[in-house]
Amino acid sequence: MSPEFILPAVNFQCILPQILLSLTALLVLLVDVFGLVKKANALALITLAGVVFATLTLFSGTGLQETAFSGMILVDGFSFFLNLTICLILILTILVSMNYQQFFPGINSGEYYSLLIFAAVGMSFMAAAGNLILLFVALELMSVSIYVLVGFHKDNLRSIEAALKYFLMGAFATSFLLLGFAFLYGATGTMDLLTMTEFIRSNPEVLSSGLFLSGVLLTLTGLGFKISMVPFHMWTPDVYEGAPTVITGFMATGVKAAAFAALVRIFMVPLGSLPIDWSMLLWVAAVLTMTVGNIIALVQDSIKRMLAYSGIAHAGYLLIGVVAGGELAQAGILYYLLVYAFMNIGAFGVLALLGKKETEYNTLQEFSGLGLKYPVLGLAMAVFMFSLAGIPPTGGFMGKLYIFSAAIKSGYVWLVVLGALNSVISIYYYLRVIVVMYFQESGAEDVAFPAPSPAITLGLGLAAAGIMILGVFPSYFWVLAQNSVFVPM
């Protein structure tokens, strides 16, 4: 005697992009193992084709508002926007990797590209997850792939060390997350986000129960680790610095996008009715995150490490949006994540341009004078830095503007003042890169960019163009972001 088994309704249509991505990953792996194609860039090109195709299929699902797989997947504008962002991140990373692999031939392997894609699959499921279980599995998929990618320079101790550190700390933080999910389940009796939201709405007294609060607290710890929120940020600089530069760009943007998606889905929306004290907690976290990130970034000599700390600071700006709450702030976060993808991968892409066999060049010293020697490249770097610093007319400015104005609308004037002060601090170290690139004598004689490949030209061009479009013609994407906010059905 057994309970009746009901065949689940399976709607493959809504996870088609993820399926295509996974298939591409497996294909690349097989092509590499069997040595089917001999050309140097073949693996990357196959990957690129698959990803672009998957990105195109994304658009077939626009405008839908439904759930699939028994509520596991939320098919809505929020998923669409973030999936688009994640796919763009993936495309840019592949383009940048195609250049990077001439210094590190080890990158040019099926494992590398398939792990890259699998990490993105994890991210996109995180963005679309409507259930804590799926969210957790997706997060693990993303994390495990990235642990390996961070350690992909097997002969480089720093890379291995970074991978090990990230793995250990990641496992540690994940245990908090899992415990948090368990408590949330215990307090509400459901793993489904929409049901949970409904439950909280009809039983607001749950908000003051110890079980629920512990769940929220531990979940915040786990996700805070992923977005490198202070004080869970300590791993960030070491890992970002040790990882292959292209992977640093990928994880700085992609992991952040996915983790903020989870934050919005778990925190901003279901807990939107929380008493004001909670947002004070995030208020403090946001200020600390911005300030610590910016201040330590000031004294870095390595551009890569500086960008790592700046990544922490940007998580702080995004947290302002979480504190502000509301649909406007959500749209601001979405917009900022998109801009951040362009500007950060762009900046890391320029970093990844300089190198020689098995060596990366990352210090300010090594970049001095290169802006004059390579004006177009210097210009591109200037665009990325200006955007990261939030100077108009770049996308970074518009992104900050949207988040800050949402926060002001919600009454967090002081938070915005502190955010603006932090932006001012950050201008110093971003502009220093430009100053060094343009106004200093070339430091090391043997440093020279190799001839830029079409892939990197396309990648950096795409990133710079994206930034300028988002900065000068913000309207289209802003409206798209506003239409993409997560509203529980």
Binding site: S214, F232, M234, D238, D277, L298, Y476
Partner: protein
């Protein structure tokens, strides 16, 4: 066709992208490809404009307002601004001659800039960028997009004035133009903000022309006057009027086709375009109109008086441009908006022609600009001579040529509206114009050649790419006036009727709020008889002829007389020759005190106090960064402890703040 209007500005933008990004490679591979790209982009724009224009003509007069919204540009709260174009008689007239004259000047530049090795692509990139901005300026359907074009043309003008930036004077001239224009732009922006906020009080959060104008009647008169005057200050900078005209003569440092395109035919007329576009606002403020009329007339006179004594061929033309722009503002100021636009169009033909001819002369004379070293070019450059003569006759208002109709229209409207004093200034200035323009012709083309022997040996007529545009423009200067032959001469003043729907007073009244203005105009005007009109026309023709005769006497027949005259009236001569010392005056009352104040602000306030605070803060941040960095030990165990610390903090907060 209306759906394709976005292509008109986009084509030059494509040219910018192609030449700007790949120009160096294109030029290295095949130089002619650079100008092919640039010229065909503008040529196609012109073609599309013509098609759009023809389609607009198909519509009945009261329906001639088509708005094309390309995309939503900026949205912030209730405020929405679109990237949208407006196709109506006014924007079409402007766009037609902007693209048309622009196209001819692009072609001319092929020959003129042929020697600019390595910078060739840059020149055409800037030129295309200018076209893009200018087209946006005239086609925009809202203040914001128009302002984008307004700034864009200013920026291109700066780039092109300083094109030969190797010479510090050129760079300085570019800077002067830019700074002067910034002063104007500042006033313009303040006006715009004033307008937006006051309309916002009435719930109109828009910068759209039609919407703003239809709600303009709700504004208090004081605000309207303030807005109009602030806008006009912006126009005095862009269109070189008193007091901000000083940059235009210096702007002649740029390549001559640039002077023709930007500083004579198109950009400098955008002030006139803007006032005409906003005529509904201006008609609500008689004071503002009065100011415009007076400033216009005085500028016309002042610039003409300076032009009498200048020896640099391009400077004479520059002052003549300032003077002609003064005429146009005079027309606007007395309410004859369509006459102003009419003069804009004809002026663009003959002034572009004159500049291009001057360029052609300079091209033949090894870039000599001083007329004292020219002369006798009539024989050696026949095409240039003939076309320039036509242009000159057109500008002085020789009966039958373009300038005659448009200038007389303005003078007649001035007289008819009762501004007799201003009319007298205008007519006197017409005489001055005739004198200095023919002085230019006689000094350049008549008598013996005064250039050095080496230069003389190389004098040659310019290549086909340069002469063909000259001929086309000469033809336009000759017949361009027939679009606006007044009733008195048996014409039907077609351009005025065509433009009527745009004017607040017109019978078309596309724009609400114009009705009462129309009635007022009908009551208030004073109508002199037809005989008076003929008489005045004859009078101005006579004065022009006197001016020409005087120039002939002084510069062909009795050539020692000018020197004697200059000695006899040496005070006046020196005043005029030194441009009434306006630059020096500005230096004394504005630039130097500002400089001193800014020195104080820099040394006293900025370096000591602000820099001190900033550097101090920076040092504090630097220290704290160094300190915080030591926390980053690299030990995973330490990181785990910090994570636990965070959890403990969260938990303490929850325990002691949240739960109780």
């Amino acid at each position: 066709m209306f759906d394709l209007v976005w292509l008109i500005p986009t084509l030059p933008a494509l040219g910018v992208l192609l030449n700007g990004l790949l120009g160096r490679k294109i030029e290295a591979a095949n130089k002619s490809l650079v100008h092919w790209i640039a010229c065909s982009a503008v040529g196609l724009s012109f073609f599309l404009t013509c098609l759009t224009f023809l389609e607009l003509l198909q519509l009945p007069a009261e329906l001639r307002l088509v708005e094309f919204t390309w995309f939503n540009w900026i949205s912030a709260g209730e405020f929405q601004s679109y990237w949208a174009y407006q196709i109506d008689p006014l924007s079409m007239v402007m766009c037609l001659f902007v693209t048309g004259v622009g196209f001819l000047i692009h072609i001319y530049s092929i020959g003129y800039m042929g020697h600019a090795e390595g910078r060739y692509y840059r020149y055409f990139t800037y030129l295309n960028l200018f076209m893009f901005s200018m087209i946006n300026l005239v086609l925009a359907n809202n203040f914001l997009l128009m302002f984008l074009g307004w700034e864009g043309v200013g920026f291109c003008s700066y780039l092109l004035i300083g094109f030969w930036f190797g010479n510090i004077d050129n760079a300085r001239a570019g800077k002067k133009a830019f700074i002067t224009n910034r002063i104007g732009d500042f006033a313009f922006l303040v006006g715009l903000f004033l307008l937006i906020t006051h309309l916002g009080k009435h719930g109109v959060w828009s910068v759209n022309f039609t919407e703003v104008f239809s709600h303009a009647s709700a504004l208090p008169p004081g605000i309207v006057t303030a807005v109009c005057l602030l806008f006009f200050i912006g126009c005095t900078a862009k269109s070189a009027q008193i007091p901000l005209y000083i940059w235009l003569p210096d702007a002649m440092a740029g390549p001559t086709p640039v002077s023709a395109l930007i500083h004579a035919a198109t950009m400098v007329t955008s002030g006139i375009y803007f006032v005409t576009r906003s005529n509904i606002l201006y008609q609500m403020s008689p004071l503002a109109l009065q100011v415009i009329a007076v400033v216009g007339a005085l500028t016309a006179l002042l610039a003409a008086s300076i032009a009498l004594t200048q020896n640099d061929i391009k400077r004479v033309l520059a002052y003549s441009t300032v003077s002609q722009l003064g005429y146009m503002f005079l027309g606007l100021g007395v309410g004859a908006f369509s006459a102003g636009i009419f003069h804009v169009v004809t002026h663009s033909f003959f002034k572009a022609l004159l500049f291009l001819c001057a360029g052609s002369v300079m091209h033949g004379l090894a870039n000599e600009q001083d007329m004292r070293f020219m002369g006798g070019m009539r024989k050696k450059m026949p095409v240039t001579y003939l076309t320039m003569l036509i242009g000159t006759l057109a500008i002085v208002g020789f009966p039958g040529l373009a300038g005659f109709f448009s200038k007389d229209e303005i003078l007649w409207k001035t007289f008819a509206s009762g501004h007799v004093l201003l009319w007298m200034i205008g007519v006197f200035t017409a005489g001055l114009t005739a004198f200095y323009m023919f002085r230019l012709i006689f000094m350049t083309f008549f008598n013996e050649c005064r250039a050095s022997r080496e230069v003389q040996a190389k004098i040659h007529e310019s290549p086909r790419t340069m002469t063909v545009p000259l001929i086309v423009l000469a033809a336009l200067s000759a017949i361009g006036g027939y679009i606006g032959v007044p009733h008195a001469l048996g014409g039907s003043n077609r351009i005025e009727h065509f433009l009527e729907p745009v004017m607040g007073t017109g019978p078309g009244k596309l724009i609400a709020g114009g009705e009462h203005l129309a009635q007022e105009a009908a009551h208030g005007a004073y109508h002199p008889s037809l005989a008076v009109e003929y008489l005045l026309m004859l009078l101005s023709v006579a004065i022009v002829l006197i001016g020409i005769g005087l120039a002939y006497t002084l510069y062909v027949k009795e050539r020692e007389r000018p020197v004697q005259l200059a000695e006899r009236f040496s005070g006046l001569y020196r005043l005029m020759f030194n441009k009434w010392y306006v630059d020096e005056l500005y230096g004394l009352i504005a630039v130097r005190p500002l400089h001193r104040a800014s020195l104080f602000l820099w040394k006293g306030i900025d370096v000591l106090i602000i820099d001190g605070v900033v550097n101090g803060l920076a040092r504090i941040f630097g220290w704290s960064g160094t300190w915080l960095r030591t926390v980053q030990t690299g030990y995973v165990q330490a990181y785990a402890v910090s994570l636990l610390l965070g959890v403990a903090g969260l938990m303490l907060y929850t325990l002691f703040v949240l739960v109780p």
